[in-house]
Amino acid sequence: MLNPTIILSTDSVRGALLLKTLQKNGFDATLCKNLFDTYEIIKDIKPVLFVIDCEGFYQNELSALTSLSNLLKECSVLVVADKPNYSSLNIKGLSTQWCICSPLDLDMVTTRAKELITPKTDETLKTLLPIETEDQEDLPEQTQESTLEDDLIGYLGLNK
């Protein structure tokens, strides 16, 4: 299967829109309409991407999703919501991306989904971290830094 994906949405219209859009963009997507089905299907499919549509869920209901974390270890999670207030959805150890849009923006969801299943996404998100928290002992990066400085000094004629 190509990019096996599970969509959890209790809203039949939004769920169908998400399903069709992701299928059209190369995701082998399956729609789940409740948490119980989701649990069963995740075990069968082993998705690379899990899309959670928060519309229609209560926060307490969504907190139950954290129990799925063992099943989702190899999976990226994309949370679609109208505002970022679902704090219980910080599932430890998982690569979670938020897609905040109201009304539902299918272009944005697709873009985020594609980013999540490529290695680029991790690197992009890292840039949001303060620079000083990055690993200062990473020798290859230090080498690259020296090269950039050498290049700039050369281009600017600052070398002796």
């Binding site: 905040i100 849009c101 944005m108 840039t127 949001l128 620079i131 990473d138 700039l152 281009y155 002796k160």
Partner: protein, 298 residues
């Protein structure tokens, strides 16, 4: 109380300077700050589009052509809460090369604007006009992408700014030696000892120690903040540390890399929709980075 002025400059064109300006304005406005965004990309104004303003009947052109007496008369309501706009003109030929007196008139009026924050969206390049508008700001944000061509332009821009500051200062204190050294420092092939500002100060200290002390004090007030935009990989953000170290070593300028903004495909989509990122994609990595930048600005 006078407004805090934040100047946003990107010496290289196309690195997202106006996109950062417009979205930073929104982020600050959402923090309950009254913001005036001023498009000073003279001759190439487009900030109104990025703020979703379709009609800008009153622009800086009207002020320059003396159709209105003050900048207050050309303030446009953007429709976004807390944000007003002074739209840049694009109809006066050579407006980017305006005379000194004209520029001073604009500066005087900018300083009188009634707001919490005034954001100056400056043009690309290193013209005197751009530098002078930058120097009236309380906070300077230098936007660059992490690639060498953009970083080289940042270095060149900061060097031009330093030379302009020192030139003004040496004229003020009537230091002919200082002015002469600045002229000689433009030809570093024949004056390799003047490649660095510290080299210039060393040479000047032989004839005028006081001029060096006061010049260092002037330069110490210039503390540009570097924003690395369009970052694709985490390690690219280190370009900021590289350029910052070079600015210190060669130009004696203390800068800081305040934040990095990830490359975000949604920025392009927002541009196509003529809507600000912060408005339609507030949860995107770009918007989150802009919010972080706004927090650092206040």
């Amino acid at each position: 109380m006078s407004a805090k002025i934040i100047a946003i400059v990107g010496p290289k064109g196309g690195i997202g300077k106006s996109t950062v300006s417009s979205n930073l304005a929104i982020a600050l406005a959402e923090m309950d700050k009254r913001v005036i965004a001023v498009d000073l990309d003279l001759g190439g104004a487009n900030l109104h589009i990025l703020l979703g303003v379709k009609q800008n009947k009153l622009t800086l052109d009207d002020f320059i052509l003396k159709k209105v007496d003050s900048l207050n008369e050309i303030l446009i309501d953007t429709g976004i809460r807390n944000i007003r706009l002074i739209s840049g003109g694009a109809n006066i030929p050579d407006i980017a090369n305006m005379p000194f007196q004209q520029k001073m008139k604009i500066i005087n009026h900018l300083l009188k604007l009634d707001s919490d924050i005034v954001i100056l969206d400056l043009a690309a390049g290193s013209s005197f006009n751009v530098i002078d508008f930058l120097l009236i700001a309380n906070q300077q944000l230098i936007i660059t992408s992490p690639e060498s061509p953009s970083l080289i332009k940042v270095y060149g821009f900061i060097k031009s700014t330093v030379f302009r500051m020192l030139n003004f200062h040496f004229k003020n204190i009537d230091s002919q030696e200082g002015i002469e050294l600045l002229t000689r420092a433009k030809d570093t092939d024949n004056n390799p000892n003047l490649k660095t500002v510290n080299g210039l100060f060393k040479e000047l200290s032989m004839t005028n120690e006081e001029a060096v002390i006061s010049a260092k004090e002037v330069l110490a007030k210039f503390k540009p903040n570097i924003v690395i935009n369009m970052v694709h990989k985490a390690d690219e953000a280190k370009a900021g540390n590289v350029i910052s170290a070079m600015l210190k070593q060669y130009l004696d300028v203390t800068s800081s890399v305040v934040t990095t903004i990830p490359a975000d495909e949604m920025v392009r989509r927002a541009l196509f929709k003529n809507k600000p990122m912060m408005t339609i994609y507030p949860g995107s990595p770009f918007s989150l980075a802009i919010k972080k930048l706004a927090e650092l600005c206040i």
